[in-house]
């Protein structure tokens, strides 16, 4: 590592004449005699790397110029590019529990509590969907970092529940869209389920998404809420028959057949893996067949199987001590899947395993 030092040597002998000759090669910069203030573009580069909550607590209060810079559209977009992806985890057995934010930073898992209870108008703190730090609650969409929230738009005058919606980001148009599984009457008093979409902060009313091209079997997926969000896509994925995928940019919905497995009764779990939708088929209590779907094409690719049978003892020891349930919750850094263990419905432990190298990693962390 020290080798490079040989190439640098300070030459202290300078003659006046040399400096005259070098005149043409002076590198002129913005007149800057002292370091009073850094140029705006450098300040931008620094501020864009500060976590949102710090920006809102102190940075934007520094001066009006900084405030204006931070609230500009290009800053918000650049800041999003620099943010760390994470997961919002919540214990649904205890509805009074707070959502927890879990993120990987420099190889370490960081956990922070969201002080969601201070939103006095939410009777419970359930988070039904989240996207880029925006949380979709029962009646509101809120941003815990900017401390802002807006009421969910009504659907033809009716209040709609957050539990039947999902929120996703259309990166090209830089818009957030709300997707809702709705009922509508088709004339002969038979109600049918379909899907409606709305651009948050722009649209006053919902648009119906075209579903005529979907098969009847595929349309049955609308009986559940949109359950998964990957980058720019919302999925209805719960069963072993079809997955419906809505591109929030183009607002076109497509149906994809789920890969068939030898035993239809096996449990299917779906996970959002950033830009992919993952399917885990439980072959036994501790092993899963893994598939990945590319939302753009609807192609499924078979991935290496996850087998944790060897670690069974570890789990069983935990199981003996605690009220145990095994639940995959999503992905961190697009490859690490935290696994949550619930104890008496109040505490949970978090383990992670890497999909490509399925080993249990790290010590359990307690999430109260």
């Amino acid at each position: 590592m020290d080798a490079h030092l040989n190439t640098i040597s300070t030459l202290r002998t300078i003659e006046q004449g040399n400096s005259e000759m070098a005149g043409d090669n002076y590198l002129y910069v913005k007149a800057q005699t002292s370091i009073d203030s850094l140029p705006d573009d450098i300040v931008f580069d620094i501020l864009v790397r500060i976590p949102a909550q710090d920006i809102y607590n102190s940075t934007r209060l520094v001066c009006r110029k900084w405030y204006q810079m931070i609230h500009a559209h290009n800053f918000i977009n650049a800041h999003l590019q620099h943010s760390t992806c994470g997961l919002v985890i919540q214990n649904w057995r205890d509805r009074t529990s707070h959502p927890t934010f879990v993120a990987m930073r420099q190889g370490r898992i960081e956990i922070s509590k969201l002080a969601y209870n201070k939103l006095h108008y939410e009777p419970y703190h359930t988070v039904w969907s989240s996207c880029n730090g925006l949380l979709l609650g029962s009646y509101h969409i809120s941003n815990p970092a900017t401390k802002r929230s807006i009421a969910l738009p009504t659907y033809f005058g009716r209040t709609i529940p957050g539990c039947s919606c999902a929120i996703a980001y259309a990166a090209t148009s830089m818009e957030y869209k709300l997707v809702y599984t709705c009922y509508f009457r088709n004339g002969n008093s038979v109600s049918e389920r379909s899907c409606a979409i709305l651009t948050v902060g722009v649209d006053k009313s919902w648009r119906c998404v075209r579903t005529e091209h979907l098969s009847l079997a595929a349309k049955k997926q609308f009986h559940v809420k949109p359950s998964m969000v990957t980058d720019g896509f919302v999925h209805w994925a719960l069963t072993n028959t079809y997955v419906l995928t809505l591109n929030v940019e183009t607002e076109i919905i497509t149906q994809t057949r789920v890969p068939s497995c030898h035993d239809e009764k096996l449990e299917h779990y779906y996970l959002s893996m950033g830009s992919y939708l993952s399917l885990l088929i439980a072959c036994s209590e501790f092993s899963w067949e893994v598939w990945e779907m590319k939302p753009e094409t609807g192609e499924w690719t078979k991935m290496p199987k996850i087998n944790l049978e060897a670690q069974k003892c570890t789990f069983e020891q935990l199981c003996f001590k605690h009220d145990f349930s095994f639940l995959q919750v999503g992905s961190l850094n697009r490859k690490l899947v935290p696994v949550v263990f619930l104890k008496y419905g109040l505490f949970c432990w978090i383990f992670g395993f890497v999909l490509q190298k399925p080993n249990i990693e790290g010590a359990p962390e307690i999430l109260v």
Binding site: H4, T7, I42, V48, T59, K147
Partner: protein
């Protein structure tokens, strides 16, 4: 038999330039290291001259930037080693030193170092009081006390149990 072209990589590597700081110190730098700076690269393309004077960068800051450039120009080092060098490079440095460094990287247009330093500065600014930031950046508070209190009051519901530091 191996023949080496006159303009081959071996000869190119040996070429070096002298860079002078604003306080007169001169540094001998290999050309492969110097061209990692977009500004220096432009000068070297335009002029045959091998002496470059930087009127805005002091010797301490310039020495740091050159150490960085030389490490990153070293083909013998793996990307992992370079990454750990970057971590080490900014760790433990005073905020003031980083300010000079980030200015120098902006002048010399060394984008990757600029981002590394900006990241470090952002990390230091986490959990800091507004007053600390104003002092370090030498910024005059142009909010009236009422205007500042109003912004704070509007946003009092989340993340507010954190302790901010003033050192």
């Amino acid at each position: 038999m191996v023949t080496t072209d006159e303009k081959g990589p071996l000869t190119a590597k040996k070429k070096s330039v002298i860079i002078r700081s604003c306080d007169g110190d001169e540094f001998l730098v290999s050309e492969s290291a110097a061209v990692l700076s977009t500004s220096l690269k432009k000068i070297l393309e335009e002029k045959e001259d091998r002496l470059i004077h930087l009127s805005d960068i002091d010797n301490k800051t310039l020495a740091m930037v050159i150490a960085y450039l030389s490490t990153h120009a070293d083909d013998g080092l793996s990307d992992d080693l370079k990454r750990s060098f970057d971590q080490e490079f900014v760790s433990g440095k005073e905020f003031d030193v980083l300010k000079y460094l980030v200015l120098a990287t902006d002048t010399l247009q060394v984008t990757c170092l600029c981002y590394t330093v900006a990241k470090k500065m952002a990390d230091i600014m986490k959990n800091k009081l507004v007053e600390w930031v104003r002092r370090e950046f030498d910024i005059q508070n142009d909010y009236t006390p009422e205007a500042e209190a109003e912004i704070r009051r509007l946003d009092a519901w989340a993340w507010d149990d954190r302790q901010l530091e003033d050192d």
